[in-house]
């Protein structure tokens, strides 16, 4: 793993890293199985349509609290989860709807959680920020920025401790990197990785903002991938708007981490199309043009182009997929609407595992 080592010990790895990013972006067209990419295109379309319904549900007062939609970033979670094995696990923050859907959680159960219903993915206890589907290896869904990071590091340790070859995937935002909750466990991951005891794939979803605060205004260095050098964690920056790039990187990195038990970090450069949350309507921190420019890099459109080129998609197929997404989203809403609220006795349920 000469390359790995150079990344570890030599922060000069910067240049090869960016270069590597390019290489991936171009080299990928041929190398990736495009057929299965069609499946993920469909998933991304569904997620996008699903988020339209969550925003509508919020406006209609059916969904409460904070609502953070994923629109614009789909290629990151889709590309990464595409290469995760069923037995693998992952953690993310509160912008988690698409992650749950991509992992196979029933759209109805996800929507029902947002509606605060008993049939929700977390029985209506968690809501939008705390989706959980442990049966599928999804360990949540957390609201305190940065505070879920150490959980994933410990979980990765446990996977190796128990002698499995599973890996743990950790998603975090650019803003989370400025918290002590990032620094302390990343150093632990670097240390444990040297013993092959930390099979952790770290994905920074760099969407350029933490609420209204841009990376330039919140991080002393803007090359976020390079921040992992302090922890001897090899890292690279990639185009997070291109599903094929993300997926090929995910395949290579997951295999490597699975084999070595050492952590690896990917900075996926992406963009959030919507406001930070439902309350962020005016977005005084960025102008319309900026958003428009990025919308032209829409990951769904980009993948659509790849698939058209490959002759795997045409207008008819696209229309069919959109109709299907329409139906899935509508049925999810209907399921959520019709589901019962949690029974009053649930107030005290799930507090402790044992009575005393």
């Amino acid at each position: 793993m000469a390359d790995r080592t150079s990344h570890n010990e030599n922060p000069g790895g910067l240049t090869p890293r960016s270069a590597g990013g390019q290489a991936v972006a171009t080299g990928v067209r041929e190398s990736v199985d495009l057929a299965s990419a069609l499946h993920w295109y469909r998933q991304m379309v569904v997620a996008r349509r699903f988020e339209e319904e969550t925003e509508r549900g919020f406006r209609r007062g059916k969904i409460g609290g904070y609502l953070h939609v994923y629109s614009g970033q789909e290629a990151v979670a889709a590309g990464m989860l595409a290469e995760l094995r069923p037995a693998d696990i992952f953690f993310t923050a509160y912008r988690d709807h698409a992650h749950a859907l991509f992992r196979g959680a029933p759209p109805g159960a996800v929507m029902a959680e947002l509606y605060g219903k008993a049939t929700g993915l977390a029985r209506g206890k968690g809501g939008s920020m705390h989706l959980f589907d442990v049966s599928r290896g999804f360990y949540g869904g957390y609201g305190i920025v940065g505070a879920h990071i150490p959980l994933a590091v410990g979980a990765a340790y446990a996977l190796r401790y128990k002698g499995t070859d599973k890996v743990c995937l950790l998603f975090l935002g650019d803003g989370a990197m400025n918290s002590g909750g990032f620094h302390e466990p990343m150093n632990l991951a670097g240390l444990w990785g040297k013993e092959g005891l930390c099979p952790l794939v770290i994905v920074v979803e760099n969407n350029e903002y933490a609420m209204g605060t841009s990376v330039t205004r919140s991080s002393a260095v803007t090359d976020l991938a390079s921040r992992f050098n302090q922890y001897a964690i090899p890292n690279e920056r990639i185009d997070g708007m291109d599903f094929l790039t993300v997926r090929q990187t995910a395949a290579r990195v997951a295999a490597d981490v699975r084999a070595t038990g050492r952590p690896y970090a990917i900075e996926a450069v992406t963009y959030r199309f919507a406001g930070h949350g439902a309350a962020d309507m005016f977005q005084p921190y960025r102008d319309k043009d900026e958003v428009e420019t990025h919308r032209r890099r829409d990951p769904i459109v980009t993948l659509e182009h790849h698939l058209r080129e490959a002759g795997l998609l045409d207008d008819a197929k696209i229309a069919a997929i959109q109709a299907e997404a329409e139906q899935i989203a509508t049925e999810a809403v209907q399921f959520a609407e019709e589901s019962p609220a949690p029974p009053p006795e649930d107030l005290y349920a799930h507090l402790y595992g044992e009575e005393t």
Binding site: Y66, G124, K125, G127, M129, G146, L347
Partner: protein, 331 residues
């Protein structure tokens, strides 16, 4: 008297203090360019510039600690906690540094720091974002802990906090930002440790702070329809606690109900209840009642959230228990 919202009261107090004293600086997450999560600081970045209105990264321990250092050097930082839930990440800085530096330095430094922001439950913000953390700070010597329930108190207490020499935990409530109330003109201040009788009455004393004062006043109005005159005490500050005001009231009502939004066990109401018993045991005709939130993390589902929060009817029922000794709560 002119009316002002709780939000504008806080906002205008901040502007007033920044205008009269250049050592006052604001710091916090998204208080500038984003205009503040609750718009308390809207337009202030433009008005005062980035060296006085400091947008920070997501680094609660780091910026609260930095504010302590600024305060030790003579600035008067006012730090916004986007919500008090996040202060748990700065807990060590507040408890082990801000509260203690004056003491373990033998009095060599002042720490004129104010940390302010919304405390308590919102609407369906779920477990990690719906906590009322006052007791964590009220327990700690070296801190002042205030929880204004009205626009006038918010304005007067914030002025006192910013002009003082000690760290102040300033607990606002998101559900109060839009309430209106009369606010005196001029440069008035409200001292720490002085409770107010928000409504006089002879039959029972209701002690409350922050949003629960509004709920207590509603309960008192309902009780009045049955001829029960509750005296409602607006505590204003938890540390120092105005023990005398509470005891004086109870010594003529002989009954008391203490209200808090948070989990009952080891909550603020326990201290107030114990203080009443210690100070007015012989005068009590009934055990002091506590009305509190349910002892669970806040659930997301609205129906469960409503069950987890204390409401007017709980206060009314508790008052009736103290009057008629119904119920088994003290069997």
């Amino acid at each position: 008297m002119p009316e002002q919202t709780y939000r504008d009261a806080i906002r205008s107090a901040l502007i007033g203090e920044m205008d009269r004293d250049s050592s006052v600086v604001l710091m916090g997450e998204d208080i500038g360019l984003y205009q503040g999560t609750f718009r308390i600081t809207a337009d202030l970045l433009a008005k005062y510039g980035p060296t006085r209105v400091i947008d920070t990264p997501i680094s609660e321990e780091g910026f609260v600690g930095s504010a302590i250092g600024m305060a030790m050097l003579g600035l008067r930082p006012v730090v916004e906690m986007m919500t008090w839930n996040f202060s748990l990440l700065a807990f060590d800085q507040i408890v082990n540094n801000a509260a203690k530096i004056r003491y373990f330095s033998g009095g060599q430094v002042d720490v004129p720091l104010v940390v302010r922001g919304p405390n308590g439950a919102g609407v369906q913000l779920s477990a990690q974002h719906s906590q009322s953390i006052e007791v964590f700070y009220a327990h700690v010597p070296g801190l002042r802990v205030v929880a204004p329930a009205t626009p006038a108190d918010a304005k007067g207490l914030l002025r006192t906090a910013i002009r003082g020499k000690d760290p102040v935990i300033f607990l606002e409530h998101a559900a109060l930002y839009n309430i209106k109330g009369e606010v005196p003109d001029g440069d008035f201040t409200v001292p720490f440790g002085k409770a107010e009788i928000a409504r006089p009455g002879r039959d029972v004393t209701i002690v409350a702070f922050s949003r629960m004062l509004q709920v207590a006043l509603a309960a008192a109005a309902t009780l009045a329809e049955d001829g029960i005159e509750a005296e409602v005490i607006n505590l204003r500050s938890l540390r120092p606690l105005d023990r005398d005001a509470i005891i004086t009231s109870v010594s003529h009502t002989h009954r008391a109900v203490v209200v808090q939004e948070e989990w009952k066990p080891y909550g603020a109401a326990a201290e107030i209840s114990a203080t009443i018993m210690e100070g007015a045991f012989d005068l009590l005709d009934a055990p002091v009642e506590r009305v509190t939130g349910a002892d669970v993390p806040m659930p997301y589902a609205r129906n469960l959230e409503l069950l987890a929060l204390p409401h007017e009817e709980h206060i009314v029922a508790a008052v009736r228990r103290t009057l008629y000794r119904e119920g088994a709560s003290h069997a």
